[in-house]
């Protein structure tokens, strides 16, 4: 399997093209099976992955634009591996969650297949231009999904989503080109290969400007405060499957970008901007959590809550130590699963009542006990209760960041409080109390399709909460590699001081 990654990227797209030949009625089974196969391929990837080995694996290389140094360079390490699996898995879940009576079912499903290609692509490419390529391409299907199957303000929401992210990332493109130019200056050859770029040691002032350029692109995607306002609209308007994929995977592209691009390329600038970014993330954590508490729309609430969690992820990344970064990556995965599940759950009552307003509900616990149970588990996972998946990542990120600053660490840990406040009050208002609204009194509990989507997620939430090791170990290895790279590359004293000097591979065993 030398070309497994290529297959992994392009199989969904090809299947999507084929999909136009498949009859409308049988399209859903078709797409489900495709995504299932894709999931299995990615799991096979995991099986074939050697976590002891340092550096990229399953690498494939081919020249695309020789004259300009653009090449088809793909490969994975422990970090991208699990994000790939997350994408394939959540896509499957999302596809299953779509009900058969959706209008234009075929278009929706095939669009999702194309989206899957771009998502997998972003996580496996190691060439800056290709990264940008998939990154931008992923906007198009999402635009269609939000705009065509969304709510009343769907067009506004989709445009905002597209333009905002596009503007950010095109600045990032300029940054990439400048980086390539610097590399050309240094080495005399054109190359956009990240692995090549990693070897480039830049003076601080260059790093600062490039970091800012990349930051704009990534921060808008994450989204970081104050660039977050597109997200509530996008989530508020998107159909359930759209929200699931958006929250579970697309947002992770931004944080992944930080780990893959900003940190190893600009270690000194990273340290230079550490405090401002930390402050932004603290605002994200506390402020957005409070905004979430004020929401009347359950879906908006989940949307804001995921911004708040992304804040913790960013903090973990900028802790710049293995605990923090590994934790943040695990938190990406857990947040993907949990927020995905929460959006699915919101979708469940939306399908039944066609409203997401919290005040419309109340007392659902007695009407839909199983639904209430699963929602409760997910809520607790999102609050970060130990032995659920949510705790591990959150704890590691916070413990990692706490090393950097005592006060900010305490504020950041405030997430366990504010998170509990909005989640529990929302849960209380939705599920507890007497059934006041007569429409709610005869709601049916979960049906088979919803079980099929929610049960696997619930199991994961518990299992990975109790035994996260299989994921943590490979991730940790790769993270250590990145950090030691950063330490070697750093030019300023401060950076050398803050970024720990970690032994990896042979040295570590010695």
């Amino acid at each position: 399997m030398n070309h497994i990654l290529t297959i992994l990227i392009f199989f969904p797209a090809l299947a999507g093209l084929m999909g136009f030949l498949v009859d409308k009625k049988s399209i859903k089974p078709y797409v489900v099976s495709i995504t299932l196969i894709e999931l299995f391929i990615s799991l096979y990837l995991w099986y074939g992955f050697n976590s002891a080995e340092i550096g990229m694996q399953f690498v494939e290389q081919a020249n695309l634009i020789e004259a300009f140094g653009v090449q088809y360079l793909i490969g994975i390490d422990g970090i991208s591996l699990f994000l790939v699996i997350l994408s394939t898995f959540m896509t499957l879940i999302g596809v299953v969650s779509i009900s058969d009576d959706t209008e234009d079912l075929r278009e929706l499903l095939l669009t999702i297949l194309f989206l899957e290609m771009t998502m997998v692509g972003v996580f496996v490419v190691l060439d800056a231009i290709l990264f940008y390529l998939f990154w931008e391409l992923s906007l198009v299907p999402m635009l269609y999904i939000i705009g065509a199957w969304g709510g009343n303000k769907r067009v506004y929401a989709s445009i905002k989503f597209f333009l905002y992210t596009f503007t950010g990332s095109i600045i990032m493109l300029v940054g990439m080109l400048y980086m390539a130019y610097l590399y050309y200056q240094a080495s005399g050859t054109w190359s956009f290969s990240l692995l090549e770029w990693y070897r480039l040691q830049l003076p601080l002032d260059y790093q600062i400007w490039l970091f800012v350029a990349f930051f704009l692109g990534l921060a808008i995607k994450v989204p970081m405060f104050p660039f977050h306002t597109w997200l509530p609209y996008a989530h508020g308007q998107a159909p359930t499957v759209g929200s699931v994929i958006l929250a579970a995977v697309l947002l992770k592209m931004g944080t992944y970008g930080f780990i893959r691009l900003s940190l190893p390329l600009y270690p000194d600038a990273t340290v230079y901007f550490l405090t401002p970014i930390a402050i932004l993330s603290l605002i994200m954590i506390i402020y957005t959590a409070m905004v979430a508490y004020a929401q009347k729309d359950l879906k908006q609430l989940v949307a804001y809550s995921s911004i708040s969690h992304m804040g913790v992820i960013i903090l973990g990344i900028f802790a710049l130590n293995p605990e923090g970064i590994t934790g943040s990556i695990f938190l990406m995965i857990s947040h993907g699963i949990v927020s995905g599940a929460l959006f699915l759950l919101v979708g469940v009552i939306y399908d039944r009542r066609h409203t997401k307003m919290i005040d419309e509900f109340g007392g659902l616990a007695s009407v839909m006990p199983r639904y209430a149970l699963i929602f409760g588990i997910m809520a607790m996972a999102s609050v970060g209760l130990p032995l659920t998946i949510g705790f591990v990542g959150e704890f590691l990120s916070l413990v990692g960041f706490y090393k950097y600053s005592h006060i900010m660490g305490i504020i950041a840990t405030g997430t366990v409080v504010v998170g509990a406040i909005y989640m529990l009050s929302a849960y209380k208002r939705t599920f507890f109390g007497k059934v006041v609204n007569s429409e709610n009194s005869k709601l049916s509990d979960l049906n088979l399709r919803e079980y099929l989507t929610l049960i696997p997620l619930t199991i994961l939430v518990i299992v990975l909460g109790i035994y996260p090791k299989p994921i943590l170990k490979p991730v940790d290895e790769s993270v250590k590699a990145i950090i030691s790279l950063m330490h070697q590359k750093a030019v300023t004293e401060e950076a050398k001081k803050i970024i720990p000097n970690i032994k990896i591979g042979e040295e570590a065993r010695k």
């Binding site: 020249n63 695309l64 333009l163 600045i171």
Partner: protein, 496 residues
Amino acid sequence: MIEPVSVSFESLKIATLMPMLLAISGGLLILLIDLLKSHLDKSIYIVLSVMFILMDLGSVLSLELNSRGFFDVIFIDGIAMLSQIVILVASMLFIAFAFASNRFHEYQYPEFFALFLFMTAGFQFMVASDNLITIFVGLETASLSLYTMIVLHNKDKSFEAAIKYFTMGAVAAGFYAFGSMILYGLTGSVELYKIFEVLEARNFEPMILVIVSSLFFIGAFGFKLAVVPFHTWGPDVYEGSSAALAGYISIVPKIASFVVVMRIFEQLIHSGVDWIQGVLYAVVVITMTMANIWALIQNDVKRMLAYSSISHTGFVMSAIMIGTTQSNSGIFLYWIMFAFANLGAFAMLWASRKRGIRYHERYDHPFEKFAGMVKLMPLGAVMMGLFMLTLAGIPPFSVFWGKLYLISSAINANYTGLAIIMALNSAIAVFYYLKLVIFMFLKDPVSSLDGSAYMTNASISLKVVLGISAFFTVVSIFFVNPILEMASYFVAMSGF
């Protein structure tokens, strides 16, 4: 008593003239046939023109590089070669549009095709010479035939468009003549290479005159390329002329003018007269930005495309301003990439041309016309959407690579500010291209008619053209490298 000058035929190197001669004789032949037997079907003319253009192309390819000929007025250097190839290929694709299912009478006139061939010849003269006179003659030949072809569309708007275009063209011609007069006065020559020899020897003194002449050239070619504020004819002409012709106008005349501008300004930019560079910088930025902003507020797809192509022109002008080998080869890369996408877009408009149905009291192609197209005609909508995304510069579609390369060349020449402006402009541009996508995919149809209305005019050949452009835009990533290598080879050959 002057002794007779004897010119040996070999020294003429008539071969260098052959391409244009072929085109012209083709035009004459068509007129002749019409004279002998009128009311023939258009198909014969179409086939004939295609044949002649093919021969033309063949003879161009057979020329050897950096050869002068015909009293040295013809100069075949790399960019001449390259641009002629682009011009001819584009023209051939354009002719295919003539095979429209509906009978549009402009295609019934044999003159149309004759003029078309003359125009092609004119553009070839423009690019294949560094003699101010020859350039002028070529330019006017092409323009005059173009005006006439617009008029042949024979609608009130097309007359208006033609008159506007013509009048401004006349003024521009005046500018060109005046500018070249000053150069001639300064150097006593009309051959660009001699002119610059003299000027460099004199190290561009008296500077004021050099500047004045170059600003008149800016005026003249600013009109041709439609850069702000000489752009005003653009939208009206696009609206007035048939979609097919509009598509042609947006591609071929511009590449020809780019070549000439490159010839004239290349040395001037590096002459150390930084006024020129400054002015060009301003012009480029204004053109890009304002055209984008005006495109945002258009209600008609064709007008929107007009403004968009103006903004694209500004984008490419920046490459001339930068004036490195990378940027100059970037021009060709960009324009080839842009040509296919734009051709496709206009082809879609052309295909959707239908008599009798008016969607809007004024416009032929208001956005509403395409509302909900995906429901009525999925494939067409997908194609149009594809072209729009391409023009917007979404990777991996063709125009993106052009943008990439030009922005990169700006950065490499330390124009980082310009690079950022370019980037932001392409972000603004996304909005109006998306507008059409949104109308097609996210809105519900307004008109009760079925999908066939969008393809009423689509003939086999048109569909072929569409297919070609769509295919090219999608897989362009594989063509970038060869095109780039070819372009930079030719450009380097001609020393730009």
